[in-house]
Structures are given as C-alpha cells and as structure tokens.
Symmetry: C2
Subunit: 247 residues, 2 copies
Amino acid sequence: VHLRRKLVKEPEVPKLSSGTTTRRPRLTKARVLEAALQLADESGIEALTMRRLGERLGVEAMSLYNHFPSKEAILDGIVDLVIGEIELPDSGGEWETGVRRCALSAYEVLLRHPWACRLVMIPPSTGALNSRIDYIESLLRQFRQAGFSPELTYRAYHAVDSHVLGFTMWELGHNLPASVDPALVEEMFAVVSTGEFPYLLEHAKQHFEDRSEEQSGFEFGLDLVLDGLKRRQAAETPAVSQRGRKH
Amino acid sequence: VHLRRKLVKEPEVPKLSSGTTTRRPRLTKARVLEAALQLADESGIEALTMRRLGERLGVEAMSLYNHFPSKEAILDGIVDLVIGEIELPDSGGEWETGVRRCALSAYEVLLRHPWACRLVMIPPSTGALNSRIDYIESLLRQFRQAGFSPELTYRAYHAVDSHVLGFTMWELGHNLPASVDPALVEEMFAVVSTGEFPYLLEHAKQHFEDRSEEQSGFEFGLDLVLDGLKRRQAAETPAVSQRGRKH
DNA sequence: ACCTGAACACCGTTCAAGT
DNA sequence: ACCTGAACACCGTTCAAGT
C-alpha cells in the first residue's frame, strides 16, 4: 500500500517563450526545497540561510517569502523530504523483518543527512507532515496486523523509534567529521590517562577497533528491542483474545 | 566512589572593602554558568544570548569573553552542569537496579531541562566534560563489575544511552508546552479523520488517555533493553571464562 | 586584569515600491 | 502575482580604548 495524498500543485515552469531576457525558471516550492536540501547536505545546516539559499536559486532572499511563510517552514519541508526517503515495507510480511527493515532504512537515511536528526524532534509547527505520517502509520500497521494489542503497539512504536533516533544521534555526535579540535583530543587523552577512569579508557580503545566484521551496534540494540517485543506479544496473546480485552 | 577532579579555582568575591561604589560581585566562570543555566530554564535556550546573559549579570555582553572564549563554551558548560545532576549509584549493587536508576535519573534530569537534550549530542568542542565522564564511567563500571565482557559492555552502554536520549527527545518533542499552533492541530485532525490512517488515529487517541496507572513508556523500553542484556550476558558467561576470551 | 563602547559581519523578517 | 531594495531589530564577536 503506497497511498499518496493530494500533491502540492505547482505551476509549470513557463517555457520562457519570448526573447532571451529571463534565463531562470520561476521559483516553486519544490525547487526551493530541493535547493535547500542540497545546501544542507553539502555545507551543513548552519550554512542554510535565507540569503545563501536565495543566492543559490539566483534570487534575492526576500523572494523566498512569496513561497514560504518562514524559514522554519522550509526546514520542516526538507525534513519531510528526508523522512520520505525511508523505505517502507509492503504490508503482508513478517512484522519482525518489516519493522527491522524500516528501522535500518531510517538509520541509513539519517546518516546520509546528518543535520536532519536534530531537526526531526522539533517540528511540526507548519504542517509538512506527509512522509512522517506515512512512516508512523506503516510501523503501527505492522504491529497491529501481526496481532499486537493497541496497548502493546503504542509502546512498541515508541520503543523502536526511540532506539532509531537515539542511536543515530549518538553515532552522529561521535563521528564529528574531522572537526575534532586537537586541543580537545589532547585534554580527553590527558583525562583518560590519569588512570582514574579505567573503563572509559577501555571503551575509548574499543572505538578505534575494527568492527566491520561484527553486527553493527545499531542492529544489536534493535534486536534487544525486537526480541523483547516478541516476548511481550507472546505473553499477551494466549492470555487474552486478540479482538479486545475487558478492562 | 565519587571522585572529583581539580575544581576550577575561582577568585573569591572581594568584600567591596572601600566605599559603596561597586555593588556587584565580580564575574566568575561559576556565576556566568549559573546565570546561563537559569536563563535557559526560565526562557528557553533561544533566549540565551550573550547580550541578555550580560544584562542578567549586570554587565556588558563583551565582558563575558574575559571568562569564556565563545558562546559555545558557555553552552558546553551548562550542559555539563545538567549532566552533573544525574544521580550515579554507589558501586557494589546489582547492575540491573543500578543501571536502571541511573537511566531513570537521566530521564528525569533531561525533562527538567528540556533544552539540554538537543545540546547533549553536539559538543564537546571546548572540553567541559567532567560530569559526562563520570556518567559514562559509572555505567561502564556497573556492567564490567557485574561480569559483562568488554565487548558486551561496549554495546550495552550504547544501547542504554540510545534509549535514554531517544525516548526523552521523543517525549519532549511531543509535549510542546502549549506552543501548539491551533491551525496545525486542525490540519493534523483533518488528515487523521480522512480515515486513511486508522492506526495513526488509534495511536493519537491513546496519547490522550490517562496512563498514570501504568508503567511509564520510558521504563517499558528500558526493560526491553535491560532484559535483553541480561539474556546476552547469561549466554556469554557459561561459554567463556569471565577473565577473557581467546579471539 | 578586567570591563566598555563602537563597530563589523552577519542573521530572519517587514514593507513599500516596482513590474 | 511575483520580485526587489532598503531598512529594522537582532545576533556573535573583534578591537582599541579605558581603568
């Protein structure tokens, strides 16, 4: 099932009929969001300013306000584009593989757009929610159709999504790409080598080991959650009918 | 064990010995951080600007640069203050109750300072890490002293902390305190009542139910993780000696 | 050694004016 | 209907000058 809601209707780009005066296509919501997403991916979210975005589109910053009420609306828009990249499984399969694939896809997508993770938590103050809604509905459906009770589904969804977001943020926070200040590494090293924190030292060393052979840490944590959910479901299924439970 | 590293030595506040000319105590790192934390708690992190912080301290914004190299250093400082509020268990107890208490304390602390959650992931570009290090060391120690292998400890730590951060961010993101735009609620309602998203509708309703009687969602997810870890440890303990494993 | 005033290079956003 | 130039009210930060 891959339902799509009313797509935003965009005016077609006029075929610059007369003369050679206008070189650039008109501004549209889609073009603005595309450029914004690109800018954030290339240069980081802090490089995404209205002036720079305008420049990239060959337009003054103020023109953007003809298409979006605020910068926040643009941010909401590109976050929804990112969430739209998450692959949602078709219905009908095993819940464990479906949810697993969904979570892994979200993990990969968020790693591709490192700036997005922090924004996902804030919105949705302008109502650019289409992909978000599809994502949540897909997860919920998989649990419910596998026979999870509404109560267990409620908690299962939060547990899974907490892991996806929490783990991804952790990883992104640690892999600061070469932006690590040598002075800071120095201090960190000094603290660790006092011997006061043996376990932290051990842990820090592990971060430098090659883990390519093993299961990823993301999957390890995901399995903890999924295994637990399987047990919880097994515990509730025989005890109560699947159609409901008296309160 | 409650080790403390070299405390920052602060010049004592001079007792304004002469006349009544100077009314305010001198600026110190500690006073600046205290005021910054207060400002963030009261008015949100976006209200924390150098000018406003200076104003609260009765000083020009530029004076702050005599004590901190940048605004970022101040942010790192107050985040570390927040992390310092997390209660760390004494060593020697059961790992499950210890880790559990630690996670719950972190959860509560982060809910008390809703702005902190998003900052925790970014630093530590200025090396204000004392509380952070204590926190991580405490978690690692509990696992290791309970007989977890270094490998399992590595993953256990990441799994637990992912849940703490992920779940807390989720909760904070959803409980936007009355800042919800009615127009957005309207749209959300419209989407949900199309009937296209039955599971989302069910889920949304659950969010309005009284859950005070039940175990919190945070604890539910935490238990999934902790139960899973217990099983993983049981699986590795009899098979290999606790002192090490040949690779 | 610490604090200040003025300034710089940026922000997001408003508004009247253009076409 | 869309785009623009100038301006406003803010940012973080630098720097020469004060004490």
